[in-house]
């Protein structure tokens, strides 16, 4: 054996130096991070690895289920009676509105037929409970107790009694993950009820929302109600989202519009998952350029 190609005896051989291994692993992690955060390529890897983690997760959530069920069981009778009376009152009001709503829906159907307009989108809805906050401290997400088995899909809107709280972003067999509107990476296309001005609502953290892409001279005032516009083809149009609290026009071409969510985003427990029963047809392909 030549002097240059000298190898250490096998008992001392430990592979590459620790620092080299560190750099290899760090580079691998950075590649994973960019692929996931920037391009969302890694859902396949995530699903494959969740085969290992899913049984552990199910086992770990059992004690939490026991605690929750026990606290529900020992809730006092008086609380339940008070809540029942409150719910009865609500039901009366809601029932009356529902009767009127059915009649109006019929009327709307007939009018649309008369005008030969396309029918409004059909919706599907699934009732769900929020189980707990997602463990990731950097995002505002919650976990629902309904998943693919109950028909939940990624992209559906999630509402409480007052308005939209967020969007389903990841679905597991019996659970799903909802990103709240107040998360900094969440956005939702909205329009103003009063005059139909459209914009996109972004979460800015601290429980607040901001409407962007609205020109400064557009008519929008504090107190305006915002509903989903449905232009994305995912959300059902007309769901209440937020009210405008402050409009600041003296910065540049775009107005700075602060909004407050209508729903109790961080506090609601019972929610409804709402989506289109059928997605709209894809947009027609663009005309070939220079068709002469």
């Amino acid at each position: 054996m030549s002097l240059v190609g000298h190898q250490p005896p096998p008992i001392f051989r430990r592979g590459p130096a620790p620092l080299a291994r560190l750099f290899v692993f760090v580079a691998l992690c950075l590649v994973l991070l960019v692929a996931d955060l920037r391009f969302r390529y890694l859902e396949v890897l995530r699903n494959a690895l969740s085969v290992v983690t899913y049984p552990l997760q199910m086992a770990a959530s059992t004690p939490a289920d026991v605690v929750r069920n026990a606290s529900r069981y020992f809730g006092t009778l008086v609380d339940v009676q008070l809540e029942n009376a409150e719910l009865r009152r609500h039901q009366l009001g809601a029932g009356e509105r529902l009767l009127r709503f059915e009649q109006l829906e019929q009327e709307n159907l007939h009018l649309r037929e008369l005008l030969q307009m396309s029918q409004r989108v059909q919706t599907k809805s699934i009732a769900a409970d929020i189980l707990y906050n997602a463990p990731d401290p950097f995002a505002r997400k919650v976990i629902l107790d309904r998943g693919t088995q109950q028909g939940v899909e990624a992209g559906l809107a999630v509402l409480d009694a007052n308005g939209v709280i967020g969007q389903v972003t990841r679905v597991h067999p019996v659970q799903s993950e909802v990103t709240l509107l107040t998360d900094r990476n969440q956005s939702i296309p909205v329009s103003v009820v009063r005059n139909g001005v459209r914009g996109v609502l972004y979460g800015v953290g601290r429980g607040m929302l901001e409407m962007r892409h609205v020109l400064a001279e557009v008519d929008i005032q504090p107190g305006d109600r915002l509903v989903t516009s449905g232009l994305d083809g995912i959300f059902v149009p007309g769901l209440p989202v937020a009210t405008v609290t402050r409009v600041d026009r003296d910065q540049d071409a775009f107005a700075r519009i602060e909004c407050e969510p209508l729903a109790a985003i961080e506090r609601s427990v019972q929610v409804l998952v709402i989506g289109r029963a059928a997605y709209p047809p894809p947009p027609p392909p663009p005309e070939p350029a220079g068709g002469r």
Binding site: P18, V52, T53, A134, F138, G205
Partner: protein, 173 residues
């Protein structure tokens, strides 16, 4: 192997399956849904740091990477976030292994605390660069919670190695 390098007591050799079992138990503890309670220890980081200090030849960056990925999947975090933090943690803990074991347990905890804080800082940095919201300084309480558990944990995880094959009061095993 001794409990610490100054101790005269000799331990049984470690069993590799027990190391991985303890890491998987830590992973299970991590998956218990606790919401946003601050100050809860990062069990996997703690167990990983412990075995990287005790057994630098058996456990290192590879295990840190694998368990970091499992954490990322289970907690719904960004892929590679925990993996990156745990790889750095494992590297530094391996590097500290020869020094730390000369100290009593509570001083070992003081050595490990900066490593745990650094791992958390790496995760925070990665997510802030990606545009997430800062979770507040209470987020870093988790490392202090972990460091407090170092002493009871080192007793618990060394317990199988304290059991001699045959009992003899005159022998230090």
């Amino acid at each position: 192997m001794h409990p610490t390098n100054r101790s005269s007591r000799i331990l049984q050799p470690v069993k590799l399956w027990f190391v991985y079992l303890s890491l998987f138990v830590a992973l299970g503890l991590e998956y218990i849904p606790t919401g946003r309670t601050p100050g809860l220890p990062d069990w996997v980081a703690l167990a990983l740091a412990f075995w990287c200090v005790r057994e630098p030849l058996a456990i290192g960056m590879g295990a840190g990477f694998a368990f970091g990925l499992l954490m990322d999947v289970g907690l719904g975090a960004a892929m590679g976030q925990h993996a990156l933090a745990y790889v750095v943690l494992a590297y530094l803990a391996n590097a500290l292994a020869r020094r730390v074991l000369w100290f009593p347990a509570w001083q070992q905890a003081l050595h490990v605390l900066p490593l745990l804080l650094l791992a958390q800082a790496i995760m925070a940095l990665v997510r802030l660069v990606a545009g997430a919201e800062f979770p507040g300084w209470a987020y870093f309480l988790s490392s202090f919670g972990s460091a407090l558990l170092w002493t009871p944990l080192s007793f618990l995880l060394l317990l199988p190695q304290y059991q001699p094959d045959e009992r003899d009061d005159n022998r230090p095993i």
